[in-house]
Amino acid sequence: MLLASFLEAHNILFENRVLTKEQVYKKLVDRLCSQYKLPVSGSKLLELILHREEEVSSAYPTGIAIPHIRMDGFNDTLIAMAFLGNPLDYNGIKVNWVVLILTDKTSSKTYLNIVAALLKLSKDKEAMKALASAGDGHSVIHYLKKNEVEVKKDVIIADIMVQNPIAVLPQNSLRELINLMSTHKVAGMPVVDETGKYVGEVNVLNLLEVGIPNYVMMLDNLSFLSSYEPLENLFSQQDLLFVKDIMTTDEIFVRPEASIIETVFLMVSHNKRYLSVVKEGKLVGLITAMDILRKVIAV
């Protein structure tokens, strides 16, 4: 399905004046209301959008904001968009493309796929430049048709994963690992060799386990201890032990073309909050449960 098929020239605006968020949203709502019979009034719709915006920001780091309203008994998907000459500020993110999407309460799949297509487009600098300078709705639709910008049937992991994630080499010392984890504030990361081949994973629990001997793990209860030397001495092992000594090498990862449901299934059944994304043996990304929550569920 082409993205252009969802669009109508009338609902695509170009705006060079300095406007507030509310003004931009009002313009988009007005366009839609003038053309379609909606279950709610224009002012009510605007209120819903602004209320939602307060709860969770609709902006993405690539400079696109996608406000979204689900309506009961509205069996359609409507899109209105505005290209802004003067970007809006969404808590530090400069947004120059606002896309309003109205959908039915039940169908989120089409919506998700449209969002994925829009996000992909917003990352493409060349395309964004062409669209921003298109000038009118017809040219935008023409450009999208010509370049065959598609709305995929299903969102795949490659669409929402973090690309080029932080990774660590097996021969890195624990000190280097500790530094990486604390500077990037991550609780775990993939392990790759020099060629980028995925070899395993290491997380903060693997690291802390170094300070706990096997026999302590066999105790039923440790509440009688207030301090314990081996744990405190973990830092003395930092340069003597390496990532390869503590990493896990279980082969639980996803392919970039894996579906959301497959990924969620793997995460839940293996109790993992993130998975490496591996293509032909090489690490290409990382998908966290929070990514899925934010980009798929909480939209």
Binding site: V216, M218, L219, N221, S223, F224, E229
Partner: protein
């Protein structure tokens, strides 16, 4: 386990015995007793009482290594008399490793003496180690019979062992005051996480022991009592899911081992092999009870130092029954059973491979980087095995 189970079915396939006979040889009184005790022990562990006893013991000993060793020896023997030796070392060895690490002393002597105490304690009661429950089920001896006949012997042997510990380790272990202070700082208050669960458990276990003591007038079999206690505790006491306990805390490997074993022994009885052995023993001793007891005691002791005492006792039971038929009165058979129990439980201390508790404890130590070799264990174990065998001989000789 697999070997026992395969063996059990091989004798059926080969036609040594019919399936129905092999199955009827499975002693359900033993199987359900074991399951009941495993359920009871699972909830007892959950209360934290054993951790509490161990930590409290170390604190009462004020961190002094010899005192800890002596008091742990006694505590281990008492706990093992209720839990059996394998469970006891699985709970206590990690604690001893922790204490030794904190005191910066080598844990090997503590682990070795602890295993020895566990094997001794297990022999003291009917519900302790498996050989005793096998004997209880095969004879009509009750909990009280075991208590009156075996517990005094074990008390004497434990006292003797404490003397041996004093001779072996006195003045050999030094710990700085700073290290001792660490042990004294242990906060044992937090170990009993759910006092209510503890009281329920102690009440049910107390009732279970009373039921064992009065099992004759109450007409209750061992399995009934143990299962009743286990099921009550699991349903009203435990905070864990019943399915989790049944899956994780019942040692199914042991249960199937026993099932296979009963079938194999039935096969041996059917082939007449056991009768042959019995006649052999009788021809040496002329059926004289005291001499026969001594032969059984030392034969069990020496063999149990090398082979697992459970299959050994399972095979000896029909043999002693067969010998019993040649004796003039039932009273004369009695010392034979006690000799079998003492020999097979205490002989296991002789070498590293003599008992399951030894292998389990040394396994835990080795996994934690404290290597205890066959000789490390055996040169200590053999002393305690000899001491306890000699004291057992004196006990049986003068008592019966």
């Amino acid at each position: 386990m697999l070997a026992a189970l395969i063996g059990g079915f091989v004798i059926i396939v080969l036609g040594v015995v019919d399936q129905s006979i092999a199955f009827s040889a499975i002693d359900w009184n033993v199987i359900f007793f074991l399951i009941g005790m495993m359920l009871t022990i699972s909830v007892m562990r959950e209360t934290g009482m054993f951790m509490y006893i161990a930590i409290k013991t170390a604190k009462i000993a004020k961190g002094s290594p010899l005192k800890i060793m002596v008091m742990m020896f006694i505590a281990t023997a008492v706990i093992s008399a209720i839990l059996g030796s394998v469970t006891t070392v699985m709970i206590l060895v990690p604690i001893v490793l922790l204490i030794a690490e904190e005191l910066k002393i080598t844990p090997a002597p503590f682990i070795i003496t602890m295993v020895i105490a566990a094997n001794m304690g297990g022999a003291a009661t009917m519900i302790g180690d498996p050989p005793n429950i096998l004997i209880a089920s095969a004879t009509k001896y009750t909990f009280i019979d075991f208590f009156l006949n075996l517990t005094p012997a074990i008390v004497i042997i434990v006292i003797g062992s404490l003397g041996l510990i004093w001779l072996l380790y006195r003045g050999k272990m030094y710990v700085s005051n700073e290290r001792r202070a660490k042990i004294m700082e242990y906060n044992d208050k937090n170990l009993i996480t759910h006092p209510k669960l503890l009281w329920i458990t102690l009440t049910v276990v107390g009732l279970m022991l009373l039921a064992f003591i009065f099992q004759k007038p109450l007409h209750l079999e061992n399995a009934t009592i143990a299962m009743a206690a286990g099921l009550i505790l699991v349903f009203i006491g435990s905070r864990k899911k019943v399915e989790t306990i049944i899956l994780n805390d019942i040692d199914w490997v042991t249960i199937f081992f026993f099932i296979g074993l009963f079938m194999i022994v039935e096969g041996l009885v059917h082939t007449g092999f056991i009768d042959l052995l019995a006649n052999g023993v009788m021809s040496i001793t002329n059926g004289e009870p005291k001499t026969t007891s001594m032969v059984i005691l030392w034969l069990s002791g020496i063999l149990s130092a090398w082979i697992d005492n459970i299959p050994f006792v399972a095979a000896m039971i029909p043999m002693i029954k067969s010998i019993g038929l040649h004796m003039q009165s039932a009273v004369q058979v009695q010392p034979l059973w006690w000799a079998l129990s003492l020999g097979s439980c205490l002989g296991g201390n002789g070498t590293l491979v003599g008992a399951s508790a030894n292998i389990v404890a040394v396994g835990i130590a080795n996994r934690n980087g404290y290597k205890i070799s066959f000789m490390d264990y055996t040169k200590i174990g053999i002393l305690f095995a000899l001491e306890s065998m000699l004291l057992s001989s004196v006990y049986i000789w003068f008592r019966y």
